[in-house]
């Protein structure tokens, strides 16, 4: 095994028309539009649907709790369910995910508990889950930094003889960061088993895509690094799943990285502290709402008799039960030990830090004595 393997095929040139398998009106696309990708099996489609419905409920519940002041901040993923869940479902549990702050519903799909996902946004600790247990890196807040971690992890896996794949999410804004370019380049040179899933939700906070890049589209970025690029309809879970699955398969079999641009839209504000009315029109929002990823898949499934009323009520019940769990977890007062501040700075204890810990301990016991 070696870090460097020769390129074994010419890079795929991205097409401007996004790949779609199920269109806005809920109909399966036939012919050229599919780019050779096939509609996923019915069981997969149903699972994508169920997970999207549950994820949407997660999102609306957390937004509501944020408005009530239960969470300090929350970057909503509403409208991006197809990108998030279509991508994650294409991974094996042994593969690794490198998320950003926005990818909470991707974490949910990885089986991480809502309380652990939300620990960071509530303000209890920076990251609440065990990365190794879930093969999911802590969500990155600095933009694009995690893409390099994904390349390193994928490379390490290959060097150790494992066929683990790493998928990282990036925003459209994040593609302007130097770390994104370095990650694309390292991945291509090392032929790392990595998928760069760029969620083009049109805005980086308030800055629209056209002020972010002069490129024809973000999928074009792949070409300059020598890797295949795809543009996919990011509101079509079936297409996202199909394209990411193909990229994962390609990476797993030693054929290197892929860059995928998912064309989607952020329906909610950037975070609860953002005012989107300053930079985008309501007409735009309504137009994108009409392309809702959940409704479209629902129409398709119903038209194919793949979704019964019983299925729907079971899914609704699952979503409600999750919302209840979230409310319980976020309304419960959690005690955080102030002395834990010093617990995880170094593997090896530092005398000076132990002194500062003692200082805080004394301060705490003095204030307890007073009260």
């Amino acid at each position: 095994m070696s870090v460097h393997i020769e390129r074994n095929e010419a890079p795929v040139l991205p097409q401007a028309t996004p790949l779609t398998l199920i269109n806005d009106t809920g109909h399966a696309v036939a012919g050229d539009g599919t780019g050779g990708f096939e509609l996923p099996e019915p069981e997969i489609l149903k699972s994508l649907y169920r997970r999207m419905v549950v994820a949407r409920r997660f999102d609306t519940q957390v937004t509501a709790l944020t408005r009530q002041g239960r969470l300090a901040t929350y970057p909503s993923a509403l409208g991006q369910e197809a990108c998030e869940i279509g991508s994650v479902m294409a991974l094996r549990t042994s593969d690794w995910l490198f998320p950003t702050y926005r990818d909470t519903i991707a974490l949910l799909t990885r089986g991480i508990s809502p309380a652990d996902i939300l620990e960071a946004f509530r303000g209890d600790w920076h990251s609440g889950y065990d990365p190794k247990a879930h093969r999911t890196a802590p969500a990155a807040t600095p933009l694009a930094t995690q893409a390099l971690h994904a390349v390193g992890l994928g490379t390490a896996a290959r060097l150790k003889g494992d066929n683990t794949v790493a998928l990282t999410f990036l925003g459209d804004g994040a593609t302007s960061e130097g770390d994104a370019h370095e990650a694309f380049n390292f991945a291509a040179v090392w032929q790392a088993p990595v998928i760069f899933m760029v969620q083009n939700n049109q805005f980086a906070i308030s800055v629209p895509l056209k002020k972010q890049t002069h490129a024809r589209m973000l999928a074009d970025k792949a070409v300059g690094y020598g890797m295949p690029g795809y543009r996919v309809d990011g509101n079509d879970a079936a297409a996202v799943y199909a394209v990411v699955s193909a990229a994962v398969e390609r990476a797993r079999s030693g054929h290197g990285p892929t860059l995928i641009e998912g064309l989607t839209y952020r329906i909610e504000a950037h975070t609860n502290s953002d005012d989107p009315s300053r930079y985008r029109s309501n007409d735009d929002v309504l137009a994108w709402k009409a392309r809702d990823p959940i409704e479209r898949l629902e129409k398709y499934l119903v038209s194919q008799n793949l979704l019964s009323e019983d299925d729907r009520s079971a899914i609704a019940a699952e979503a409600e039960s999750l919302a209840g769990d979230i409310r319980d977890a976020m309304n419960a007062e959690v005690e955080i030990d102030p002395l834990s501040l010093f617990d995880h700075v170094y593997a090896e204890p530092r005398p000076a830090l132990l002194e500062q810990r003692q200082f805080l301990a004394d301060e705490l016991s003095a204030s307890e004595d007073k009260s």
Binding site: P138, P142, T145, L148, V151, L153, L159, D179, E182, A347
Partner: protein, 345 residues
């Protein structure tokens, strides 16, 4: 993540055969430390700019790729954030990367990956991820390098909780400290003083010196404590020799570890001599010397006969090669500074 298969520092090291004593440069000692760790632990990998066939611009990784193969030692693309960022991902998968930043000012493109991720991953994840990564940085001046090749970046790193920052000043420490750094589960910024690369000791390897977080008293004295590290240990020893001619008994400490700071060794010395001065090449303002002076004063105020002095580079961007001799602290400057104290008791 697999446990390292090597012996812990301090245990007998069966993987390495003892060599006969011979003159050994710091570059050779570092090279041998890397070789011995590559041999001892299959999870150790080395990558960076030019570290493969060339063996690094200072030849610290000389022949390692030939000996261990290009899945253990390889040339990365030329991008420092990329080097640190990918090393972080590798550490998440159980590897122990040792990466090279070609010159210290070229570590700055990696600043974010180092301070926002390398230093923080353990903390962010409640100790569930460790970052056993060594970042080797050839540092400081004195070799006539053009701009960006001679800076001292230690103040940036020591200000970052989560990092361990060490710097050897001689071949024996270079060998021992680098092996210990590679075995540490904390990320270590390993600063290699360029001007000391070709210094020689008569050594038989492997050698184990004091733990890397400990300072060492390299010369005993009773009148003043000089606190030095990396490139300035030599300056301090010269000052001690000059001072001796003037009847001054100088104790010289090689801090070795900049973070953590070995308060114990330093305070014991300062309480004995009652005077201290710290020497570094980096600019003075907001520099490492300010931290040292404050710590030493806070802990030993009533034992001090004079304020702690700083003998440092000027507060200027690192000068061009023909001017660096005027910028770098010299033994004469150290003695002149000590002369500013009132010495009568």
């Amino acid at each position: 993540m697999s446990a390292p298969t090597h012996t812990a520092p301090g245990e007998a090291d069966s993987t390495v055969e003892q060599t006969a004593p011979k003159p050994t440069t710091m570059t050779a000692a570092l090279n041998q430390a890397l070789r011995d760790e590559l041999a001892a632990d299959p999870d150790v990998v080395i990558f960076g700019e030019d570290v493969g066939p060339l063996g690094g611009v200072f030849r610290i990784t000389d022949r390692l790729q030939a000996e261990f193969g290009d899945d253990r030692v390889w040339d990365s693309p030329l991008a420092e954030a990329g080097i640190i960022g990918t090393a972080i991902g590798m550490a998440m998968y159980g590897m122990r990367p040792v990466v090279e930043m070609q010159f210290d000012a070229f570590s700055f493109p990696a600043f974010e990956q180092i301070v926002s991720h390398l230093a923080k991953e353990r903390n962010r994840t409640k100790g569930r991820l460790s970052m056993p990564i060594v970042v080797r940085i050839p540092c400081a001046g004195g070799i006539g390098g053009v701009e960006h090749h001679s800076d001292s970046s230690e103040a940036y790193w020591i200000h970052t909780p989560g990092l361990t920052v060490v710097t050897p000043s001689n071949p024996a420490d270079a060998y021992s400290m680098l092996r210990e750094a590679i075995r540490s589960d904390d990320p270590v910024i390993f600063m290699e003083p360029k001007s000391r690369y070709w210094s020689k000791d008569t050594l038989s390897l492997p050698v184990q010196t004091a733990p890397m977080t400990k300072a060492s008293v390299v010369q005993e004295g009773s009148d003043v404590t000089l606190l030095s590290y990396g490139p300035t240990v030599k300056t301090a020893l010269e000052a001690a020799r000059l001072g001796e001619g003037e009847g001054l008994s100088v104790e010289v400490i090689d801090l070795r570890s900049l973070s953590p700071f070995d308060d114990e060794t330093v305070s014991a010395s300062v309480r004995k001599t009652s005077r201290a001065a710290v020497i570094h090449e980096a600019a003075q303002f907001g520099g490492y010397g300010a931290e040292v002076a404050a710590r030493v004063t806070e802990r030993n105020f009533f034992h001090l006969s004079a304020p702690v002095l700083r003998i440092t580079g000027f507060d200027i961007p690192f000068p061009s090669p023909k001017l660096e001799e005027f910028h770098l602290p010299t033994a004469e400057r150290v003695l002149a500074a000590l002369d500013t104290w009132e010495w009568e008791v």
